[in-house]
Amino acid sequence: MRSGKIRNAAAAVLATTLAVSVVGCASGSGESSASGEELEMWTFLDPNSPDDPRGAALNSIVESYNEQTDGPTVTVRSINYAKLDAEVIKATASGQGPDILNVYSNQLPMHVAAQTVQPMTEYAEPVLSEMGDDFLFPVDGVTFDGEIMAMPWEIRAWLLWYREDMLEEAGVEVPQTLDELGDAAAALSETGVTGLGVGFSNAGLGADFMEKFIPFTWGNGGDILVDGEAVFDDEAGVETMNTFIEWHDQGAFGDEVLSMGADEVINGVKAGTIAMAIEGSFRVAAARAGDGVGDNLQTAPMPSSDAAQPLQTPIAGQTLTIGANATDTDAAWDFIEYYTSAQSQEEFAAAGVLPVLSTVYESEAVTSLPNADELNSWLDYIRDYGRPNPVSENFSELSDSLVTGAQQVVFQGQDPAATLERVAEEYNAQ
């Protein structure tokens, strides 16, 4: 009987230990990452990247901040840009989200809806008021229900990229209109390369295709979203699709673009297998770092149907936000303010990033850069032809559906009007 009691007691202890362990594990997983001693920043940039100068600039800024701060220091966690948003939403839901989060302005509505970021109006408003017109990024683009949710640290334009060496070799002039762009790309394709790289794959949720579809549709007099409703299923949208069909038919690009996303297009430009592309200003420096690329890669404003004026460029950019799980918001803002200061902007400018403060373009640090003229030309393009990028909570889904529709239209001969109407209806039904 005595041994039976001992065994029963042992069993009870075993079961209790297990239960306590399970509960312990569960409660442990709910702890916030914000310790008060250290702030965690999640970003797509890799501070140790050997190829991307933006990573080196980030590293330098964070190190400088940590050296001068009396408060919590910042550690950087780099996550691939395609996974960053999903990781943040999952982590924040379990209380493990970052203190500071880098969000691309297009994805900001999604993060606001998912409640992964918290308002920063009380911190940002006085600073932005003081900056006034010096701050280039439209603040409306980061304001939701009257609350400023993010602080932009970069602004970007979309440009015509061309490999000067390849154009010269093929005897092709830099195109000034969309028609010339198609003709030039077709001529370049005859040399055995892809004349114009347009990412038609679903990689990156079709973002590369959208970056063309938006300005082209604007150029045709249309729009993408109005009051949250998809309106691209009109003549302007169809005209955009017809442009792609025409380019495909004349050989400006072949079926190979079906397997290309932004990364593949840029790698193609670097490798010399793609002669021209329409890509963002923010990637130029990284592309030029490729072997044998350098100044062979040149940019120009996106051509429109009228040689006298280029297409409007969407305005978007990277922002910093305060994570929903952040407990020390003062410290988080302190870092964000440092990160968006003129001094940090100068460092990013050297990495080919367009600063959001106009005075930075006049600073000695920027005017002495070898690419200062180019940065200023991009700034002028944004000032004269910039237009806020359409954004919505479900932009990723729209982008994925639209690129799938475009594949069917351009490569399978489906009707552009019917396809656009279907995509718009599906989006509006959500």
């Binding site: 029963n8 009870a12 399970v22 809806a113 079926d255 397997s259 889904e397």
Partner: protein, 319 residues
């Protein structure tokens, strides 16, 4: 303490008839561990397993089923909507196409992987020189991650610079990732490439348990190598082959990383499978309810195929 009494023993005078029968199981309640075990110890030993299984297996399934029956907004569960998500998957053209593609992908991969593994296992079972080297080489794809394998094959079949890329041919330009049929073919090939080592190992292990005497006896009876394989080796390997088929089926139905990295579901949605749709709806579009419904459909397919294999195996044994 209860003591089991075995009727019909020699001490009781009953005549021994044939081999001794095993004692009947004790009838007492709560005596799972042994007659002398206290109830608490029995449960104490079993409870950890029950808790672990409940937490690791049952809870996620129940949670996913519950999620699939609700509207969701990011990580928040909303209104109960019944079977709406499932109805959409089974009635929409997109959902039906995803199911069809998944079946093509799984069956296509199995049709190649199982015979290939069987053949390789037979080769590896031969007494040839450098047998260990061959075994290591054949197992190498197993240790490569799906992401690396996808990127490696993307490079290999690149039409411009890939060693296996066909590029311009007399029949036109061939780009595996720009044509839906070729992309699915490539996906199946790469899938087989990363999964056949597991099947080969299992087949090899099974082959090594078959007594050599059986094959020798068949040889003495005049059976050639093919007949020996078909009538001696294969029947004895059937249980293993069914296990291999179950394992591979589960692996293939649930495959996301490879598909996502290699084709992303394209081109023209040609490789957009159920598993990829589950992932994209859940973690790219954050429609967790629909994503969970896709997962439940996948789970159902897995159970269905698993049950079918087991039924076949049992009928083979009984037949």
């Amino acid at each position: 303490m209860a003591i089991a009494v075995h009727p019909g023993t020699e001490e009781q005078g009953a005549p021994p008839a044939g081999p001794p029968t095993p004692p009947p199981p004790p009838r007492g309640k709560g005596r799972g561990v042994g007659d002398k075990s206290p109830l608490g110890l029995s449960w104490g030993l079993v409870l950890p397993s029950i808790i672990v299984v409940a937490v690791v297996s049952i809870f996620p399934i129940v949670y996913a089923v519950n999620l699939s029956l609700h509207e969701t907004s990011y990580m928040q569960i909303g209104e109960f909507i019944g079977l709406q998500h499932f109805i959409w998957i089974f009635t929409s053209a997109e959902g039906q196409a995803q199911i069809a593609r998944s079946l093509i992908y799984v069956v296509g991969s199995l049709v190649i992987a199982v015979p290939l593994s069987l053949a390789l296992a037979n080769l590896l079972n031969q007494n040839v020189r450098f047998r260990r080297v061959f075994r290591v080489l054949i197992l190498m794809p197993w240790v490569i991650s799906q992401t690396v394998a996808a990127l490696l094959w993307k490079w290999l079949v690149n039409p411009d610079y890939g060693p296996l890329g066909l590029g311009e041919t007399p029949f036109g330009r061939i780009d595996f990732l720009a044509d839906p049929v070729l992309a699915m073919t490539l996906l199946i090939v790469v899938n087989v490439w990363i999964s056949y080592p597991l099947a080969t190992i299992l087949c090899l292990a099974s082959l090594q348990t078959i007594p050599e005497e059986l094959r020798e006896a068949a040889e003495v009876d005049g059976a050639g190598p093919f007949r020996r394989f078909m009538q001696v080796t294969l029947p004895l390997m059937k249980p293993t082959l069914f296990v291999v088929a179950i394992q591979l089926t589960l692996l293939y139905f649930n495959m996301v990383t490879l598909v996502y990295t290699l084709t992303g579901g394209g081109p023209l949605d040609g490789t957009n499978l159920l598993s990829l749709a589950a992932f994209k709806q859940s973690f790219e579009f954050f429609n967790l309810g629909l994503g969970a419904a896709y997962s439940v459909v996948l789970f159902a397919f897995n159970v269905l195929f698993g049950a079918a294999y087991i039924r076949l195996l049992r009928s083979e044994r009984n037949g």
